[in-house]
């Protein structure tokens, strides 16, 4: 087992706390990875947090930036990380040395909740549980490239790759998008002479009769026709490809080391994706269990104030951002309560007597079972879609807000359940990022890359999008365009290595867009 930093065993009193908490957690049915706790000081914790939990990660300035930010936040008393846990087997978790014993108890219970979630939630099932080693491996590879090709060169390339790190297909680990055979289906695979395309339309003939049986001009004509048909029929990629990173990895003219770096960034993006997909559930689940265990078993009378203070901090609500801890916790409690009282199923749904619904109780007692099932199969999006109810929204005073162009402020727009839910689901779709895919890698028949943004009512931020295009251009080395919608009008942003262009092509994007109005922005 690789040891992180100078590894120190837990002090005996914490070992005892850990054993005690694990015992309680098991009694409630939590099924977690073996979990290794380390006590570290705030600098180390900030450093590890800056590395996204992995002290062995590749060197990059943004980790330094993150660290500086965390340290400053801590120094000013604005924020404090209590705990850090990573999805590996065994599960590693870090405790902050300056925390009081109550906090340690709470954090340990909380971490066990996460650990159980990592192990059992289906969305994590495809993640690499040896990521600690894998990250160290990534670090070594990138460091080696830095030694060999220069820090600046490699770092710049990493920056470029990071620019598209979110252009992945988050569902792909669970779907087979392409036939596996495709790997071996080379276009030049013509070993079997019977499969030769020239055999089509040609009659068998003795060689001296061949020019008469198969007149060359007829053959050539047929051949041309087929070629054209093939060209028409096979766009490339065959269907829009969500995993832009993979596409570039396979088809962009990259050097071997660049391919490797890009694949590293991609692997890490896929590793972290489920955590983004289950933020609300994961934190809600861990909070549910730490509060259950702490309030029923862990708390000594002298801990109560500390504990309450800590909880109040974690569960604070905000008008501008839904607190995943709070919403997740409440929703799990809500589900448990509903299934305990049997508030589900046809009979309940069809009941339109409010009083009856409110005091509904069939003594079903299925709550515990239900929440364990929920933690196994759902992600945030399906979780909200399935379990966010009108009552819940009202009780928790959830509203939907939007941007008011005139005032320049975000304003509360609606408290209608439908609006709230629609907005929330929209924000959770694709991790809250725009859905972008590769549509044509031979755009204008000039080997240009054409991306499309699936517009669903929210525009891209243009300056960032253009900067991103520049980075994709660096990878693809040919002009890059993206089709999107601005001011309710379809348009194409492109970058050809020198200047940016915004063209509003009404006839789609695949034909010449120069005919319509176009604005040229020179860098």
């Amino acid at each position: 087992m690789p040891r992180l930093q100078p590894f120190r065993d837990l002090p005996p009193e914490l070992v005892e706390v850990q054993l005690q908490m694990e015992k309680h957690a098991r009694e409630y049915g939590l099924d977690f990875f073996p979990t290794i706790f380390e006590v570290i000081d705030i600098e180390q914790l900030n450093a590890i947090a800056a590395y996204g939990g992995f002290p062995t990660r590749y060197p990059h300035w943004r980790f330094g930036m993150e660290y500086a930010k965390l340290s400053r936040g801590y120094a000013y008393g604005l924020q404090k990380i209590y705990e850090m846990v990573i999805n590996t087997n065994p599960c590693y978790a870090y405790l902050l040395s300056s925390n009081a014993l109550t906090d340690h108890k709470l954090v340990i219970a909380h971490v066990l909740g996460h650990s159980d979630f990592f192990k059992n939630n289906n969305w994590f099932s495809q993640t690499n549980r040896n990521m600690l080693d894998e990250m160290a491996n990534h670090g070594n590879r990138i460091r080696r490239y830095m030694d060999r090709f220069g820090v600046d060169v490699v770092e710049e390339f990493v920056d470029t790759c990071l620019s598209i790190e979110d252009l992945i297909d988050i569902h792909s680990p669970f779907i087979q998008r392409f036939d596996t055979e495709e790997k071996y289906d080379f276009p030049g695979n013509t070993e079997n002479p019977d499969d030769q395309p020239t055999a089509v339309g040609r009659f068998r003939a003795k060689s001296y009769m061949d020019p008469y049986v198969n007149p060359p001009e007829k053959l050539a004509e047929a051949e041309r026709g087929r070629e054209e048909a093939a060209k028409e029929a096979k766009p490339f990629p065959a269907e829009p490809m969500r995993d832009v990173m993979l596409f570039l990895l396979q088809h962009a003219p990259l050097k071997p080391w660049q391919q490797d770096v890009l694949s590293i960034i991609r692997d890490e993006a896929y590793y972290f994706a489920p955590q983004g997909q289950t933020k609300i559930m994961n934190e809600g689940w861990a909070t549910f269990w730490h509060s259950t265990i702490m309030t029923r078993h862990g708390l000594e009378p002298n801990d109560v104030i500390n504990y309450a203070d800590h909880c109040a901090g974690t569960l604070a609500t905000s008008p501008t951002r839904l607190n995943p801890y709070k919403i997740g916790l409440e929703l799990f409690r809500h589900i448990e309560d509903r299934w305990n009282r049997g508030c589900f199923g046809e009979e309940y749904e069809q009941c339109d007597n409010l009083a009856a619904k409110q005091s509904w109780n069939t003594e079903a007692g299925l709550g515990r079972e239900k929440i364990f099932e929920v933690r196994r199969i759902h992600n945030d999006q399906t979780f909200i879609d399935e379990f966010l109810t009108y009552d819940f929204c009202r009780q928790n005073k959830i509203f939907q807000f939007g941007y008011n162009d005139d005032s320049g402020y975000y304003e509360i727009e609606s408290r209608y359940f439908k609006d709230v839910k629609r907005q929330l689901l929209a924000n959770l779709t694709n991790l809250g990022r725009p859905q972008i895919s590769v549509r044509d890698a031979n755009y204008k028949n000039r080997n240009e890359l054409f991306l499309e943004h699936r517009y669903e009512g929210v525009e891209l931020k243009i300056d960032h999008a253009q900067a991103t295009l520049e980075n994709i251009y660096k990878l693809w080395t040919r002009p890059v365009s993206i089709e999107t919608t601005l001011d309710d009008e379809q348009c194409v942003l492109s970058f050809d290595g020198g200047e940016h262009r915004v063209s509003t092509a009404k006839n789609g994007g695949s034909s010449e867009s120069g005919s319509s109005e176009s604005i040229v922005i020179t860098n």
Binding site: W61, G64, L162, L322, Q400, L424, G432, P434
Partner: protein, 368 residues
Amino acid sequence: MAMKIDKDVKRFQKIVRGAIRKNLRKYVTQSEMFGRQGKDMVSIPLPALAVPHFHFGNNQGGVGQGEGEEGQPIARGDDEGAGQGAAGGEPGQHIQEVEVTLEELAEILGEELQLPRIEPKGASNISQEKSRYNSIRRVGPESLRHFKRTYIQALRRQISEGVYQPNAPRIIPIKEDRRYRSWTNTPQPQANAVIIYMMDVSGSMSDEQKAIVRTEAFWIDTWLKSQYEGVERRYIIHDALAKEVDEHTFYHTRESGGTRISSAYRLCLKLLETRFPAELWNIYCFHFSDGDNWGEDGNQATELLRDSLLPKCNLFGYGQVESMYGSGEFIHALEAAFGPKHEKLVLSEISDREAILDSIKEFLGKGK
């Protein structure tokens, strides 16, 4: 203990510095800098630092929790802030501002303008840093290892770990036990440089001119502070009469009436004689005006400068800000009297904001 992250932090700082250097002219020209100035930090907006992604703009909207009517504003819609809603994943990573110390900023300025380090005059009165080996560190070269302290530390650790056996007292120091001799620098905390700013506040100096002066003064301060342990500043405003004021008044006073530059020089001289004897202080004078002066006063001012002020100063900078009303005569008078390349006197014409950076270079490029 040195951590791996330190390297990344260094790297980040290097990038920040690079970005600042690249945009230095922009920062110098904008006067917003001192609005962002704390005691010894400046925060600098660096929008280009974050890695760009495709992401949503302002019109995303989100979900929040709490009281409030429909239509009630909840947050300002700038580039940051709300809008992320409950969207999981990391919070927005774009930095808007980074903080750098004034010292660092001065260093960047120095590097970019290739300013020579100042050699303080006279050795005796300058606060020097003395190094003394009188402290202990956890890191250091082996040649400075403090055997006794290391031993004690190891002993202490072994006792607390319970592995120390009194009958077989074997002490094995590990890396964390090592102690090294180290030095501390003891500077004499003495202010030994003074900057005297003089400015013409007669009617012909408009707000734009004053803003230019202020920007220049900020950068001059920043640089000189980085060169001396303590820097005192004094401000003199003048029209036909001169008076000493505080910094705020200096930039915000507006008088009408004529201009008599000699009045400022005389006051400056008085100040130097009474408070800042030349043999103890490094003296920097900067005078900004639009070049207008009363006819015969030019000679008086030149005389004062030649006979009294210049011998006392390390540097006397005259910055002439172009204004709509000023005649711009004075700089020519000075040039005629002292020649364009005087040892201590620097003349600089500042036509507009763009010229500030070059003007700073002229003033400070002498290394005095």
